[in-house]
């Protein structure tokens, strides 16, 4: 697993992973599971991780809980430019880092304002729509505006917002929804919280 690292990254220089992997991985997953089950709802996500900047603790927690040698990771330019981030992720998850977004099972996006088009990532195929990329975004804030959401997991409607996002986010999401059951799923993280937009969710209004 650790054999892919460059010699520079010795264990002593690396930030620590989960101190109680079984418990922390489960708690992190559980928060994500409920986030995806209730799109737009903000789930508490506690973590003590201190990953190398600019990787955020919440992003790191999701990566450690969900990624391993079976799941190539794509890093956005901001994360890719800091070598310590890839070293940290490779060491603790064993996941290969890919620069091909379409080959990634998870994409880590530190600057969601500069989100690449969703279609750059794996969309799944009609027989296997699950073979798609899940994007993990670090946002500065999760809020109740400007979007109104509908779909599975939402009783009638739910309000949702995240900052920063591209100005045409609603259009991009509508295009992603049109591909259903293909398409990407989004996980939003911010300090102490996680929220999700699975591909089944529709944005029905933008305030």
């Amino acid at each position: 697993m650790s054999t892919e690292q460059t010699p520079a990254a010795s264990t002593s220089e690396l930030a620590l992973g989960f101190s109680d992997p079984v418990r922390e991985a489960q708690a992190t997953f559980k928060a994500v599971m409920w986030a995806v089950s209730r799109p737009g709802h903000r789930m508490p996500l506690a973590t003590n991780l201190k990953p190398p900047a600019p990787l955020t603790p919440e992003m790191a927690a999701l990566a450690l809980a969900l990624a391993d040698y079976e799941t190539p990771l794509w890093l956005d330019p901001m994360l890719a430019k800091h070598k310590g981030v890839a070293d940290f992720l490779r060491f603790h998850t064993g996941a290969p880092i890919t620069d091909d977004p379409a080959a990634a099972r998870f994409a880590l996006v530190r600057e969601p304002g500069n989100l690449p088009p969703f279609t750059d990532f794996a969309q799944g195929i009609p027989e296997y729509p699950d073979r798609s990329t899940t994007l993990i975004l670090a946002v500065t804030m999760l809020s109740d505006a400007p979007f109104t959401l509908e779909g599975p997991g939402i009783k009638s409607t739910r309000s949702f917002g995240a900052t920063p996002l591209p100005a045409d986010f609603a259009t991009r999401w509508a295009d992603n929804r049109l591909l259903f059951p293909l398409g990407v799923d989004l996980l939003f993280t911010t300090s102490g919280l996680v929220s999700a937009l699975p591909r089944s969710t529709r944005i029905t209004a933008e305030a």
Binding site: Q26, A27, S37, G153, P181
Partner: protein, 307 residues
């Protein structure tokens, strides 16, 4: 402890490697793989996500899919309930509950529906309305609703991709032509959020309406067939039917003989060889709770003998 250290720990007798198990039996990599499948399943309601199902220490067909899903989601703060045929006390439910009591120390178990955070079930949905924080994990033998119409996975995958469910409608209609009824009484196919047709597992069709717009998260695990699927909370789940033959649930003419409940699913109990029989709640927790509240059916025991 790294993997290497683990195998280097003291061997037992006769050159036997040390035998140790992780919390909730599954190793962490397996849990991650199952968790990823669960997230995809929730994101694509009703779609069967393939997963690398493991051999479990109980036979395939005996709940290995449900057990793997439960093991992957279970945390030490969870309260687990296991039912089979609606009952906490059937042998397989007892065995699975015992498995988690042994392998997941710290997890509490209960027979009370309302106290559980995770309910693993075979063949029933509890009578009591589930709540928003609860997860219902179904054990599924054959996840493919089209399997008995088309045995080939390569074909059924295509049909789902095209949302081509004509076969299923033809089958149900042939039932009507032959029997005057849709002859499917359990594992009655449903359409999820207007897209995928899904097998609800062999629950009686009586339980189908409980799946619709449920506040709880519903997860389905098929171990032998290596599939996981899901219904998020508050999702539209509609049984397939026809305008002139609308979907109808089973109706029982009499109330439960023990707790007098109506509008619940009943088991038939044969009392003698002269045709004597009675009908009692299949959901034992529901029935016990009602009896404890003082409800009495025509065959119920005296209060002191009831429990």
């Amino acid at each position: 402890m790294t993997a290497l250290e683990q195998t280097q720990t003291a061997s037992t007798s006769a050159g036997m490697p040390a035998i140790t198990y992780n919390f909730a039996y599954l190793d962490e990599q397996t849990k991650r793989m199952i968790r990823r499948a669960i997230l995809k399943a929730i994101a694509i309601p009703g779609y069967q996500v393939p997963f690398a199902s493991r051999e479990m220490p109980m036979p395939y067909g005996w709940g290995t899919g449900g057990v793997q899903v439960t093991a992957a989601i279970l945390g030490m703060d969870d309260v687990l309930k296991v039912i089979d045929q609606g009952s906490d006390d059937t042998t397989n439910a007892v065995a699975i509950r015992g498995f988690f009591e042994t392998t997941a120390p710290g997890v509490a178990t209960t027979t009370r529906t309302q106290d559980a955070t995770v309910i693993q079930t075979r063949h029933r949905v509890p009578e009591q309305q589930l709540q928003a924080h609860q997860v219902l994990v179904y054990q599924v033998p054959i996840p493919e609703p089209l399997r008995f119409l088309e045995p080939r996975e390569t074909e059924t995958r295509k049909l789902h991709a095209l949302a081509d469910y004509g076969l299923m409608h033809v089958k149900l209609y042939e039932d009507i032509a032959r029997h005057g009824h849709i002859a499917t009484t359990y594992a009655y196919p449903v359409e999820v959020d207007g897209r995928y047709v899904m097998d609800p597992s062999p629950i009686p069709k009586f339980d189908n309406p409980k799946m619709d717009d449920s506040p709880a998260l519903q997860l389905f695990g098929a171990g032998r067939e290596k599939r996981i699927y899901a219904i998020p909370p508050h999702t539209r789940v509609v049984p397939l039917d026809f305008e002139d033959h609308p979907f109808k649930v089973q109706h029982f003419a009499k109330p439960c003989a023990l707790c007098a409940a109506t509008g619940v699913y009943l088991d038939e109990v044969i009392l003698d060889d002269r045709g004597g029989r009675m009908f009692v709640c299949s959901d034992t927790d529901y029935c016990n709770t009602r009896q404890a509240e003082g409800h009495r059916g025509e065959m119920s025991a005296l209060p002191e003998a009831a429990e």
